[in-house]
């Protein structure tokens, strides 16, 4: 067995370029691919963020005066698509999943290294294609939901390129999902039991199941939509007898689970970070595992809560209300468990910990508005308003993106062997947290009082609140400065981190920083208690 692995790795090493060039190559090393995902995702985050800034500039005044109206719709469509498909999904899954999962299962690489590289290299071209479609005949402008008949009647080239790009990104996501399932279930080091795996593995297993089950549905739907656009078929085109509501069902059958595809891995990452910096075992390991799987199952049967104001019969509304609200139970369990993990610990207050705590507060807030939105009568008033915009930004930005930053602070020493500057990190956290809440909290009020989403102009009575929100957005944009400064300064002349600066017990810390190509010099260590903090055996 070991001989086989060695020969494979020799071959692997000889084929790979060295140094910085690795990151621009078709590398098969899971660590290189993880970093490729992260940096590529972050570049797209900067693009998506610039688009968000453009939206907030437009909305600083009630008139549509900053950009043409159709360009505004292109901007909001690209903002949503880029942030979901090119930033959050690839980073929480692809980047951290690729970097960490092989360490966690005690393997030297992912199960299918070539498929892994293909999955990554699908992303940059489809992202570039999506962005440059603006210069063809205008980008897609039907929103990231691409509801027909609007998506059929707007300029075709942009919409078709959008579909093509999302199909490729969906393909990349499916390849990744298959790879993670195979790696977690089949590549575990001998002696390592499933219930000894770090929680991020469970989160990635659950997420990958969702990816593999639901992404093909989106792909099929978008292919049908493209037929409607280019071949004049009538699947969703009401003029030709098609049904627009069927599209919404199919679309949300993927796109609601997509929320969990963005959030479950973040839950997993927080479960790794909190125990290390609190010096306490993860509270309630078993209930955590079951709640992840509970979310996976429930997440597949709640999609119609996005359609309470479309044509859905009453019984269906009732079923989806109850199912959706029940997701709060497994999600709540996880939050109580994290708080219990903190309780009685010896907490180091650093950037990683602060971002994780910020995540808990933001997500609890977004979760509460989520339970309210699940209630049909509540949703009917605020559906498609800024209340919903505020809610899902609390989930995906306040949740997932805060965790991404927390994870970068946590694993940067592992990847680079250097420590990040804590002062800049805490400054980054403070500006992000204040800016984020200033930007999105007031938007709840806007939605309740009559401002719909996706508009370039609005009732002048909402101007002040919109301007407050825009100031928050400005702060969020500024917050990337200390972050980028920190990264570049620390790579250049950061303090040496040593192999295990946090004294963590999970397997990725039990090798050198940065790790060797084969992950461990000798055999992979058997970590039976990844959260064994405070236990006598560990102390020596």
């Amino acid at each position: 067995m070991t001989i086989l692995i060695n020969s494979k790795n020799e071959q692997k090493e000889s084929l790979q370029p060295k140094g910085l060039l690795r990151y621009f190559s078709f590398s098969l090393d899971h660590k290189v691919i993880g970093i490729q995902y992260l940096v590529c995702g972050f570049l797209f985050y900067l693009v998506g963020g610039s688009l968000a800034s453009a939206i907030r500039i437009e909305l600083a005044s009630p008139m549509s005066d900053f950009m043409p109206r159709d360009v505004y719709n292109q901007v909001l469509t690209l903002h949503g698509t880029i942030m979901i498909f090119l930033w959050i999904v690839p980073v929480v899954n692809g980047a951290f999943g690729n970097y960490l999962i092989p360490f966690y299962v005690g393997a030297r690489d992912m199960a299918f290294p070539r498929l892994n590289a293909v999955a990554f290299w699908l992303i940059p071209p489809s992202g570039l294609m999506l962005i440059t479609s603006y210069f063809v005949d205008g980008a897609a402008q039907a929103g990231w939901t691409a509801y027909p008949p609007l998506s059929i009647t707007t300029p075709q080239s942009g919409q078709i390129i959008w579909i093509l790009s999302v199909l490729l990104l969906g393909g990349s996501s499916i390849f990744g999902g298959i790879n993670f399932i195979a790696t977690i279930l089949k590549l575990r080091r001998p002696g390592l039991k499933l219930m000894q795996l770090p929680m991020y593995c469970w989160a990635m297993l659950g997420t990958s199941i969702l990816v593999v089950l639901s992404t093909p549905v989106l792909a099929g739907t978008l292919i049908l939509l493209s037929f409607d656009i280019v071949a004049n078929t009538g699947f969703f085109n009401p003029v030709l007898g098609g049904n627009v509501v069927v599209y919404q069902h199919l679309f949300w059958f993927y796109s609601h689970p997509a929320v969990y595809i963005m959030v479950l891995p973040a839950f997993g990452l927080v479960s790794e970070i909190l125990p290390v910096h609190c010096r306490k075992p993860l509270f309630g390991y078993t209930t955590m595992v079951f709640s992840i799987m509970g979310i996976v199952v429930l997440g597949l049967v709640v999609w119609a809560h996005h359609m309470f104001t479309s044509g859905t019969p009453p019984w269906m509304r009732l079923f989806f209300t109850i199912a959706t609200a029940f997701i709060a139970v497994p999600t709540g369990i996880k939050f109580f468990n994290w708080v219990a993990t903190m309780w009685g610990g010896k907490i180091s207050i650093n950037s990683a910990m602060l971002f994780s705590c910020g995540f808990i507060l933001n997500f609890v807030f977004g979760g509460i508005t989520g339970v309210a939105l699940a209630q049909v009568p509540f949703d009917i008033h605020v559906h498609d308003t800024y209340f919903v915009v505020a809610h899902f930004h609390y989930i995906v930005y306040g949740g997932s993106v805060f965790v991404i930053f927390s994870s970068i602070y946590h694993w940067f020493p592992k990847v680079s062997g250097k420590l990040l500057n804590e002062k800049l990190g805490i400054l980054h956290f403070a500006i992000t947290f204040i800016g984020f809440n200033l930007c999105f909290a007031p938007q709840h009020w806007l939605g309740l009082n009559g401002m719909p989403r996706r508009v370039a102009e609005y009732d002048p009575q909402f101007q002040l609140i919109n301007q407050i929100s825009s100031v928050g957005a400005l702060l969020m944009a500024v917050s990337t400065i200390p972050f980028l400064l920190n990264i570049f300064l620390s790579i250049k002349n950061g303090r040496k981190a040593g192999d295990n600066p946090w004294n963590a017990l999970t397997p990725e810390w039990l090798t050198s920083s940065p790790p060797p190509v084969e992950n461990w010099e000798g055999e992979a260590p058997l970590v039976e208690e990844p959260y064994g903090y405070g236990k006598p055996i560990i102390s020596e």
Partner: protein
């Protein structure tokens, strides 16, 4: 020990007290101008209070833990190796389940009172009895009885609403309705999906091409309110607005007769 419990109870009850105070005194919603609005606001208040209690509670625990259990400089070593507590974990599974279930049943009740669960029977829907109409909100059960619905047809297109009054055989760009009367609107879209939203009425229904939808409501307050398109429908989506003017019955009839004459 008794002391500690005493403070804990004091803290919890003050969180609950503050949440209730905010819930009853901070109004985040616009004017209530239909029969549905106060029912909606009742649900909102309850959800708001439960949400505040949970949010304040969780935030307080997180912030308290950060301060109380922070590592003092130079301190090393680990916390207690507590890996779980079955009793606690059962408690925080069961209690949220009960809360979620109660809230779900309660909102079902609210929805029923708003007329959402009622079948849209043929007699409530205007002509074309055979046509399948998809549900919006149906007329309230506790409605002012004995009156016929006022039927109006709405057609939505990029980027305007048109209101057709079948009884008067005229089309208007503004929706005039008499106060305290049952209004039934049947909506059709000429092109893409739109939505009919009146925030002061707390109702919304998509207007779907190829599939008529129905919405029933009873305005209770005289005034002029916006009708807003809430579904992205193209470049001028933000400008797609109309007004609903709720008038005293006499004013409404005057307006109606005036228009009837001119168009006839």
């Amino acid at each position: 020990m008794l002391d500690k419990n005493y403070y804990l109870i004091l803290l919890i009850s003050s969180i609950i007290g503050i949440s209730f105070w905010i819930g009853f005194n901070v109004n985040l919603l616009p004017v209530e101008a239909s029969i549905n609005a106060p029912i909606y606001d009742e649900l909102f208040k309850i959800l708001f209070i439960i949400g505040l209690i949970l949010f304040f509670g969780m935030s307080l625990i997180v912030v308290y833990s950060l301060f109380k259990f922070r590592k003092i400089n130079g301190q090393s070593g680990d916390g207690i190796a507590l890996e779980g507590n079955l009793k606690l974990e059962i408690i925080w599974t069961v209690i949220p389940s009960i809360i979620v279930l109660i809230v779900g049943l309660y909102s079902y009740n609210i929805y029923d009172r708003m007329g959402g669960m009622k079948e849209l029977n043929n007699h409530e829907v205007m002509h074309n009895n055979s046509e399948k109409i998809w549900a919006g909100i149906s007329q309230n059960s506790n409605n002012i009885s004995g009156m016929e619905n006022l039927n109006i047809e709405v057609s939505a297109m990029q980027f305007a609403f048109l209101f057709n009054y079948p009884n008067g055989e005229f089309i208007s760009g503004e929706l005039h309705v008499p106060v305290n009367e049952k209004i039934s609107i049947k909506m059709e879209s000429k092109d893409v999906i739109h939505a009919f939203w009146v925030p002061e009425f707390r109702i919304k229904q998509d207007i779907i091409p190829g599939q008529p939808t129905v919405l029933n409501f009873t305005p209770t307050k005289v005034g002029k309110y916006p009708i807003i398109c809430a579904e992205l429908c193209g470049p001028y989506h933000g400008g797609m607005r109309a007004s609903i003017i709720v008038e005293e019955v006499s004013d409404y009839e005057e307006w109606f007769n005036q228009n009837k004459k001119t168009s006839a």
